[in-house]
């Protein structure tokens, strides 16, 4: 019973972590139809920038995460303006650029901070007891809460605000949106900035829950892609379901089978969904 309860809690926490990481990736994919493979590296950079703000400037963990999100948001907007905008019509070159960006960011982190063990200070140290027999760190609970909050906030932004309507317009038809007076480049910049900022928040939280290393973004990028495929393009709300599916697969299966088995099952789910419903569980059919 205790193992079952712990597993359920693990699944919810993992789902939250994955949703947090995948949110920025899904936003860019939904709005700009860009598969930003550098998202994992931006998440990693966000974690290291958060560490930098916390240790060099002595900011409290909360402030360090916010500052890291601001820095990475500006970085995302600059990336869009000077890189992705130029390459936007060429998928292959966009992909090559993203791969090069991954190597650059990882090497920059290695060279500046070095391959030493580091951890972002905890945003909320301490433990909390759940249901009498299960204890969990408060920072994990906070990560869950922040993930759900950000998912709701971004979903409301897209659905209920003028900016969100403009983003949906651009996602539907860029040329038509432009003809209607929407500044497509401004929308793209905001989307990239938001995506990078979300990645930084995820990185800062995960850098505290687990640890920092320059390759921490690689595995998370794969999770983000899996979640987006299962949820479907254009469906941010679908991330909640896909996050829970993948989170519970990763929480439950490792208990019964060898570690990599859960990855295989998660990917198999993504493949089956792509075959049966190519637009994903909640994506719009084209």
């Amino acid at each position: 019973m205790e193992v079952l309860t712990q597993t359920i809690v693990n699944g919810i926490v993992l789902a939250s972590i994955y949703i947090l990481v995948a949110l920025g990736f899904a936003l860019i994919f939904s709005v700009m139809q860009v598969l930003n493979f550098a998202h994992g590296a931006i998440y990693m950079a966000g974690a290291y920038v958060c560490y930098f703000w916390g240790t060099t400037f002595g900011l409290p963990p909360w402030a360090a995460i916010v500052m890291s999100a601001v820095v990475l948001a500006v970085f995302g907007m600059l990336l869009e303006r000077f890189c992705f905008r130029i390459l936007e019509k060429d998928f292959n070159r966009t992909l090559m650029f993203a791969l090069a960006l991954i190597v650059m960011l990882q090497t920059a982190a290695d060279v500046t901070v070095g391959a030493y063990v580091k951890r972002v200070p905890s945003v909320l140290p301490g433990l909390i007891r759940i249901g009498g027999s299960i204890t969990m760190s408060k920072e994990r609970i906070i990560a869950c809460v922040i993930a759900v909050f950000l998912l709701l906030a971004v979903t409301l932004l897209i659905k209920k605000t003028l900016l969100g309507r403009q983003m949906r317009g651009v996602a539907q038809d860029r040329d038509a949106a432009s003809l209607h007076g929407i500044n497509v480049h401004r929308i793209a910049g905001i989307a990239f900035g938001l995506s990078a900022g979300l990645a930084a928040v995820a990185g800062g939280l995960m850098g505290s829950i687990i640890s920092l290393n320059t390759y921490m973004g690689d595995a998370m990028l794969v999770k983000a892609i899996t979640l987006v495929i299962i949820a479907g393009m254009g469906s941010l709300g679908g991330l909640l379901v896909s996050g829970l599916i993948v989170g519970f697969i990763d929480a439950v299966l490792p208990i019964f089978i060898g570690g990599a088995g859960s990855e295989v099952v998660a990917f198999a789910c993504a493949i089956v969904i792509l075959l049966i419903r190519p637009s994903g569980l909640f994506g719009q059919e084209t």
Partner: protein, 402 residues
């Protein structure tokens, strides 16, 4: 007139000859260079440790060269480290080994650590008869056997650490009767699980489960849940690295496990305490080492490495010790063999009765276990993380691999 020309010509010739002599003399006395290959992960997950092993090699090469280098058959040789990145992958390992062997033509290669990386490099170095000094070995049969006569293990590896960890566990925590084993999924988990079970039985301990985690694991909660599901008295981590060990210990403590946890390899105790949380880690010990240069139990070589690393890199990492150890092995073997023939070097290495390691005196072993007497045996440390998060060197334990 003619006589004057002849005298002038002779004088000029003598002057030129006198000028040439010092440069000829200095050319004769200038030391030659001996390249040593460093096969280390500079990228990928293993880089977290092996970058520091490389750094240890670099600072030891400086140290040896400052002392005049190595003398072989009356000739002085200064060492030069040539580094290739194995990228933490088998393909990268093979490519790095090929560059070192065929492009740089080295006779010695230092590193690496992970089983499939070691095995891949061995496929290149053994046929080329290049002496390879491994940092570490996970005891898979392919890493060292009778078909790898040029591969040597220069420091304590997992086989050396399991027994002492269990001994310390039973001495300090006599109530501990069961433990769950947590290890990376790298091909060695089956062999190490069986080895631990055998060692545990000798000490009246029972292994309740073997939990293997893939190298790209981001969250260890599911694996630790599995490990704790058998309600063990203790946790024994076998292999891994700090970025995994720390979160594993943290997860176990957050899930309410208060029993002893041990790392049977050489993870840095300071890094574990940083990642797990100083208030969480204890009771925990590892065979990694204290950094306290005032601790009389540390060897002079260890203190020298700590000081030099802090001076050169601004910070010491305990993997600097592996690099130092390997270079000093090369120097000792060359000085003893007085030859560059790798067959002679390998034979000399095997027959050395006494060999100095950075951790203290050592001897050669491994013939019964691996079929070749290619293992340097010395001693392991028991280093505890105390409840206040500080680190204490408890004692040294000598080990032998028969």
């Amino acid at each position: 007139m003619r006589t004057k020309k002849v005298v002038s010509g002779v004088a000029i010739f003598l002057a030129l000859a006198l000028l040439a002599v010092p440069s000829m003399v200095s050319a004769q006395k200038a030391p030659q260079t001996l390249k040593i290959g460093v096969h280390a992960a500079l990228t990928g997950f293993a880089s977290a440790a092996e970058i520091h092993q490389r750094d240890g090699v670099l600072l030891t090469v400086d140290y040896v060269n400052q002392k005049g280098g190595v003398t072989v058959k009356g000739e002085k040789y200064l060492l030069e480290a040539v580094v290739e990145d194995n990228k933490s992958t088998a393909e990268g390992s093979k490519a790095a080994a090929e560059k070192l062997v065929y492009d740089h033509k080295v006779k010695f290669i230092l590193g690496a650590t992970i089983p499939y990386i070691n095995i891949a490099a061995g496929q290149v170095t053994e046929p080329a008869k290049v002496i390879r000094l491994l940092n570490y070995m996970c005891d898979t049969p392919e890493e060292m056997n009778t078909k790898t006569p040029y591969t040597f293990l220069t420091g304590p590896a997992i086989r050396a650490g399991i027994g002492p960890s269990m001994d310390y566990m039973t001495q300090k925590f006599p109530h501990v009767k069961t433990y769950s084993m947590i290890t990376p999924q790298d091909g060695a988990e089956g062999i190490l699980g069986a080895l631990c079970e055998k060692e545990a039985a000798k000490r009246g301990l029972k292994q309740t489960i073997v939990v293997a985690w893939p190298h790209d694991t981001t969250d260890f909660y599911p694996k630790v849940t599995q490990a704790l599901s058998t309600k063990p008295d203790a946790i024994l981590l076998v292999n891994g690295y700090e970025q995994a060990t720390g979160p594993i210990i943290k997860a176990a403590r957050e899930m309410g496990f208060k029993g002893p946890a041990a790392m049977a390899n050489y993870d840095d105790p300071y890094d574990i305490a940083t990642l797990a949380g100083k208030e969480f880690t204890a009771p925990f010990w590892t065979h990694g080492w204290s950094r306290d240069v005032n601790d009389p139990q540390l060897t002079p070589d260890m203190k020298e490495v700590i000081k030099r690393a802090q001076a050169k890199f601004g910070k010491f990492h305990q993997w600097n010790l592996w690099g130092w150890n390997e270079v000093n092995m090369v120097v000792q073997v060359l000085q003893k063999a007085q030859s560059f023939d790798t067959a002679v070097l390998a034979d000399t290495f095997r027959k050395m009765n006494k060999i100095e390691t950075v951790w203290g005196p050592g001897h050669m072993g491994g013939e019964k276990t691996y079929g070749v007497k290619n293992v340097v045996c010395s001693r392991v440390a028991i280093t505890e993380v105390l409840p206040d998060g500080s680190v204490k060197h408890v004692k040294w334990i000598d080990y032998d691999i028969p």
